[in-house]
């Protein structure tokens, strides 16, 4: 009966709705959350825990005197089994809670706290030794033995109904897919207001309308300026900066009596103004955010790896520095000239040490790579960068005309690390048989300093080239727009992930679009190669950094384990761990966080179980499952509110559970918004009941 007792130790966390709505109301009225770049959890934030502890018996008798421990605090349940713990620090996306009482098995489980919220728990404790042979203690536990073939509810020996014990096991492989894999992805045209917040806790009915806040605009300037100086300049225009939001974004309010339309028009004409958008209430969901760049629709790679969804969590930060070790760049390109460029350097031949300008007149490789990572975005023209705001450190280690040297790459890595780079992108290659101690040492130096190194795997349809082959470097292969490994992409055991690299053999649109120079004219082109897969990953790593995920090893692990598994299940040499998933990565939606359960047709649920990593796969094992047709389901509380809904990953699959033995299931978790409506309804009933 021990398994029965565990199966019945259920946890039903739910949000205290009034508190949730109060928080939402505060946000709607313009009380912004943490600024961009501070997207990580704030240790100063607090939450509360309350609920009841009851006995697992049919009467669900309150357990008085139970000790509830969380975040280093503890309390004791009263005569009615109720407890309350207030002012608890949020210590991470999930935290353990332990409940113990004399005569009961100690229960330890994980909760997902949300700052400012009250989490309500009902904890059911199983008596110690309940059902153990010979204990004879707990009333009513002398029921069916495991596997005796009785149908649920077919009665036992009379008296109180007994819960039967089953021996079926479901072993579910949990994997994520990108948003583009679903039936549809809803879109929204929210303004930059939600750039400044994490997705907020919400229930499905709590969605807000997309109305503007009267008399307020989010204005992007072409640089950081002192607020007072700008307000002095703008005094006659009837507007003033209310708040410097982040980077070069400002909250501006009308001070005159002009209409909003007139004021907005006036704002747009002011010097140094790059963009003007009405301030809007926070959108509480993780829908796709599509910028207004002309060529965004042609950037299939961004949609494929869920970048528009990630933009609802973070759009980058100028405080994150990405070094682009490449051919230099063309700083006058109209989609590049407005971005932050820091500490550029040249280590290639033919130019001075400070001249990092690309010498290309056709195909500026470094400019293309830079555009993918951080071209000017939502500026009404050109392309979108993965980061709307980021600092690029151009480190020129190659000439567009004759390549570069391994030594220059080593010098470039050293320069980048010593001058503040957080991430280094290397869309370049040399033969892995060329073993250079100097460059290896610089790679290891960078890794020891916590710098994220990313490189293209090479285009030889063969073994992975250097520097991607180095164990401290994230090796990135390429896929085409159909998520097939690109015809040229190198493969091998060093491969970490794949990303869009394109295939132009059947048309240019199959390539990766980015900023370029064509026949001496600044413009855009489509290209193919792992050169362009690598900056997709470096760009996503920069988004992760801006969302508060700053540990290089964690970034690499999250990129791997949140990836959409393609090819052979688990790791394989052609896709590595799979196709990167920007939204899952920036939200730390590692499938090991999934809560996995099995539901029978009568509504009985077994679980949840937490998956474990087994090799390159994530496996959950649910034991004690009744035989017959059941549904295995799982979800990740990505938007950490204890409720399954928008912004969360979820999925379900049918399984036929044997009376004895194990059945395997492949459980694909997709973004809630992309799930078929009938799956959503079923999952909502199972999880949010």
């Amino acid at each position: 009966m021990r398994s029965l007792a565990k199966a019945r130790r259920t946890l039903r966390p739910r949000l205290a709705l009034p508190v949730s709505l109060a928080l939402l109301a505060a946000l709607v009225t313009g009380c912004f959350g943490s600024p961009i770049g501070g997207g990580g959890l704030n240790n100063d934030q607090r939450f509360s825990l309350q609920g009841t502890v009851v006995d697992a018996g049919p009467a669900a008798a309150p357990v008085a005197g139970a000790i509830v421990q969380a975040a280093g605090h503890e309390t004791e349940t009263g005569p009615d089994g109720a407890f309350s713990l207030g002012n608890l620090p949020v210590q991470g996306p999930s935290m353990p809670v332990t409940v113990s009482a004399p005569g009961y098995e100690t229960a330890t489980f994980l909760i997902q706290p949300v700052a400012g919220e009250v989490l309500v728990l009902d904890v059911i404790l199983a008596p110690t030794g309940a059902g153990e042979p010979g204990d004879g203690g707990t009333p009513g536990d002398g029921g069916d033995e495991p596997g005796n073939g009785g149908d649920p509810g077919d009665g036992g020996s009379g008296g109180e109904p007994e819960d039967p014990v089953y021996s079926g096991v479901v072993e579910a492989r949990i994997r994520l897919v990108n948003a583009s894999a679903g039936a549809s992805v809803s879109t929204a045209s929210a303004g930059p207001a939600d750039l400044l917040t994490r997705p907020v806790a919400r229930r499905p009915q709590a969605a807000t309308v997309d109305a503007s806040v009267p008399g307020e605009w989010i204005v992007q300037l072409n640089g950081d300026y002192p607020v007072q100086a700008v307000n002095t300049t703008w005094a006659a225009a009837g507007v003033q900066i209310v708040e410097h939001l982040a980077d070069n974004f400002y909250l501006v309010a009308a001070t005159g009596g002009a209409s909003d339309a007139e004021t907005e028009d006036r704002l747009a004409r002011l010097p140094n103004v790059v963009s003007v958008e009405p301030n809007r209430p926070v959108h509480p969901v993780a829908v796709a955010y599509n910028p207004n760049d002309t060529y965004f629709a042609r950037q299939w790679g961004l949609t494929m790896v869920s970048v528009p969804q990630a933009w609802n969590v973070t759009r980058g930060s100028r405080n994150v520095v990405v070094a682009v070790l490449d051919t230099g760049l063309l700083p006058n390109h109209p989609d590049i000239q407005g971005i932050s460029i820091v500490n550029g350097r040249n280590f290639a031949s033919g130019q001075s040490a400070t001249n990092y300008t690309d010498d290309a007149t056709n195909l500026s490789h470094g400019t293309m790579v830079t555009g993918i990572i951080g071209a000017m975005t939502n500026n009404g023209s050109g392309m979108a960068g993965i980061n709307w705001s980021v600092s690029i450190m151009p480190v020129r280690v190659m000439s567009s005309r004759s390549g570069g040297t391994v030594a220059a790459v080593g010098q470039g890595i050293r320069w980048a690390v010593d001058n503040g780079a957080h991430i280094i992108n290397m869309s370049l290659a040399w033969d892995a048989s060329y073993n250079d101690t100097f460059v290896n040492q610089q790679i290891e130096y960078a890794a020891s300093r916590g710098v994220v190194l990313v490189a293209g795997a090479g285009n030889d349809s063969g073994r992975i080239t250097m520097p991607a082959a180095h164990p401290d470097v994230i090796a990135v292969g390429a896929v085409d727009r159909n998520k097939r490994v690109a015809w040229y992409s190198n493969y091998g055991p060093q491969l970490d992930v794949v990303a869009p690299g394109g295939d132009t053999r059947s048309g240019q649109a199959g390539g990766i679009l980015s900023t370029d120079i064509v026949s001496g004219r600044l413009g855009y082109s489509y290209q193919q190669g792992t050169s362009f897969a690598s900056p997709h990953v470096a760009g996503i790593a920069a988004l992760m950094y801006s969302a508060g995920i700053t540990d290089a090893q964690e970034i690499r692990e999250l990129l791997r384990h949140t990836a959409e598994d393609l090819g052979t299940p688990g790791f394989d040499n052609y896709y590595g761990y799979g196709l990167v998933n920007a939204y899952a990565a920036v939200t730390r939606s590692d499938p090991v966080r999934a809560q996995v359960s099995v539901a029978a047709e009568d509504g009985r649920v077994t679980g949840p179980a937490l998956p474990q990593r087994m090799g390159g796969q994530t496996i959950a094992r649910i034991e004690g499952v009744a035989p017959g047709a059941q549904a295995v389901f799982a979800w990740i509380d990505t938007v950490p509110d204890g409720v399954l809904g928008e912004g969360d990953f979820a999925g379900l699959a049918a399984v036929n559970v044997p009376a004895e033995g194990t059945v395997a299931a492949d459980l694909v978790l997709a973004l809630w918004e992309t799930l078929p409506s009938n799956d959503r309804a079923r999952l909502d009933a199972l999880v949010n009941r």
Partner: protein
């Protein structure tokens, strides 16, 4: 007949390269003779359509001395062999290579220790237009030891698949 005139051109190109700077370890390629299409405005452009690749290759190598330093200049010439453009695919920013062997053993390779952008590109070679790629070698092996005696020089157009020339022989002192 055709080989003769463009081999002569290669030697001229090599001489020009050496005058430009003996210290260089590799030379800039001449434009492959193609005029990229005129793209209107800022519209994205891309690689031209595929066609069957047919090109002539030739290699030339000669010793030259400048300011008391001796070296060997190598030139690879490429031209479409038929009446149509030849479009070749390259798997990286590297388009050419030179390999020096002695008694079957490789003693120098231009690309050794060099780095190239990991981009797949296509280049157009046109009939009647010669593209020349050059490099200079200081006559030493990777350890810095001078090489003496007869060596064979091959040029490689590192297209997909790579195309290699027949060797030419140099006699080093």
């Amino acid at each position: 007949m055709r080989d003769q005139w463009w081999l002569a051109l290669l030697l001229v190109a090599g001489a020009v390269m050496v005058v430009a700077g003996l210290g260089a370890t590799g030379g800039a390629p001449n434009a492959p003779g193609s005029e990229p299409p005129d793209y209107p405005g800022m519209e994205p452009s891309g690689s031209p359509a595929h066609s069957q690749a047919r090109v002539h290759l030739g290699v030339a190598a000669q010793e030259l001395e400048l300011d008391g330093r001796s070296g060997y200049v190598m030139s690879l010439g490429v031209m479409a062999s038929g009446d149509d453009d030849a479009v070749l695919t390259f798997r990286s920013g590297q388009m050419w290579d030179f390999v020096v062997t002695q008694a079957g053993r490789e003693v120098w390779r231009w690309s050794w220790g060099r780095v190239f952008p990991a981009t797949v590109t296509e280049h157009v070679f046109r009939p009647g237009k010669l593209a020349v790629f050059t490099a200079t070698w200081d006559g030493r092996d990777p350890t810095g030891a001078p090489v003496s005696g007869a060596v064979e020089v091959r040029a490689v157009l590192t297209a997909d698949p790579p195309l290699e020339t027949d060797p030419v022989v140099l006699h080093l002192p």
